[in-house]
């Protein structure tokens, strides 16, 4: 792990190792602390002005944690700022969905029953023919039961 941090500090780390390091989110404070130590050593060796270890990165990251997460150019708002649906709400929402489906089905039947083609048909065909048609049509369960019984 620490050898990878040293390589990261030198930018001598491959993509897979970067992924491995970043996946250990609970160890990132340690990663940053080691990098800070390495920076001091580097500054002394290069005879740069040495700036003692500071907690500026922690302050910056604390501020950035409050920022919305960036998602490839889009911004994902922090969950604390949005209305969320808890698992307790799912049964209520499911019931509501079922009611909507039933209501929309009923509405469709109603619409179909008074469709334009049916109205035109009623106007054009004489009433006695329609009555005779209804009388001859199998429209109740008894008809089918009788047919089934006679077949046996």
């Amino acid at each position: 792990m620490n050898e990878k941090i040293s390589s990261l500090f030198d930018s001598e780390i491959n993509n897979k190792e970067v992924d491995t390091l970043l996946s250990k989110k609970n160890k990132m404070a340690g990663v940053r602390s080691s990098m800070s130590d390495y920076q001091i050593i580097s500054d002394v060796m290069k005879k740069n002005t040495v700036l003692p270890k500071n907690n500026l990165t922690d302050k910056i990251m604390s501020a950035i944690d409050k920022e919305p997460t960036q998602m490839g150019g889009l911004t994902k708002v922090n969950s604390s700022n949005t209305a969320t649906i808890s698992f307790d709400m799912w049964p209520v929402l499911a019931s509501l969905a079922v009611l909507v489906v039933i209501a929309s089905t009923a509405f469709n039947i109603e619409v179909n029953s008074t469709s334009q083609s049916q109205l035109l048909a009623k106007e054009d065909i004489p009433q006695e023919i329609i009555s005779a048609h209804h009388a001859a049509t199998a429209n109740n369960m008894n008809h089918f039961v009788q047919v089934g019984d006679s077949a046996q």
Partner: protein, 229 residues
């Protein structure tokens, strides 16, 4: 691109006597692993990985601090400007396409933030000539920290430098040589492996062990400095 030449430095202080740099045999490839790594971290940050951005913050906060210290002297103001610059960079990271190096982009944000800060205080930002701008873009040259030093901070810096130098002198030759070639001569691992005639994995391990040994000696001092500063 022209091949780079090894710049002569005072690295021989730390090199083992029997294996000094022979510049005539060396030809450094103009690779920029820094930029490749930064681009990788930026892409991860763009996909929502804040930890990736935290590595960029750790990597560049001191360099940005040094840059801003050329325009603003007060330490707390510099810290505020550095923090604001990183927040602005994070907000705009989705628009970063990698046309320039991440640091160059960040430095421009830092300079603008510092200028706006000075204007808000009724101060006139110092006009910079093109040479100065170019020097600032090259962060490797940003070694100087222009903040007002106190006797205590100077003493602490000297103690840290003495401890690090003492620890380096006591390192085994192969560790001292590896870390010197890296830090002072700025060689990449592949070049160091050629010079030291050992596998890259060994170079990596030696540099790491050298750093850990020095950091161990530095730890008590850093803990003290954290309490004082």
């Amino acid at each position: 691109m022209q091949p780079l030449k090894v710049v002569s430095t005072n690295s021989t202080v730390y090199n083992s006597s029997n294996n000094k740099l022979d510049n005539s045999k060396m030809e450094i490839k103009p690779v920029n692993p820094d930029r490749a790594l930064d681009q990788k971290l930026v892409e991860k940050a763009q996909k929502g990985d804040k930890q990736a951005f935290s590595i960029l913050v750790e990597k560049y906060q001191l360099k940005l601090y040094r840059l801003i210290s050329r325009m603003v002297r007060d330490q707390s103001e510099i810290e505020d400007i550095v923090q604001d610059s990183f927040i602005k960079a994070y907000r705009a990271i989705g628009n970063f396409r990698g046309d320039s190096a991440f640091y160059t982009w960040l430095y421009r944000i830092g300079i603008n933030t510092a200028k706006n800060h000075l204007v808000s205080l009724g101060k006139r930002p110092k006009a910079m000539d093109s040479n100065e701008i170019e020097e600032m873009e090259n962060y490797e040259s940003m070694s100087e920290l222009r903040v007002s030093e106190t006797p205590e901070s100077t003493m602490m810096s000297n103690q840290i430098a003495e401890t690090v130098n003492g620890a380096i002198q006591n390192l085994p030759d192969e560790l001292r040589e590896a870390i010197s070639l890296r830090e002072i001569d700025g060689l990449c691992y592949e070049e160091i492996s050629e010079l030291m005639d050992c596998p890259i994995g060994t170079v990596r391990s030696r540099i790491f062990r050298a750093r850990e040994t020095i950091a161990e000696k530095l730890k008590p001092l850093i803990e003290t400095s954290n309490k004082r500063w």
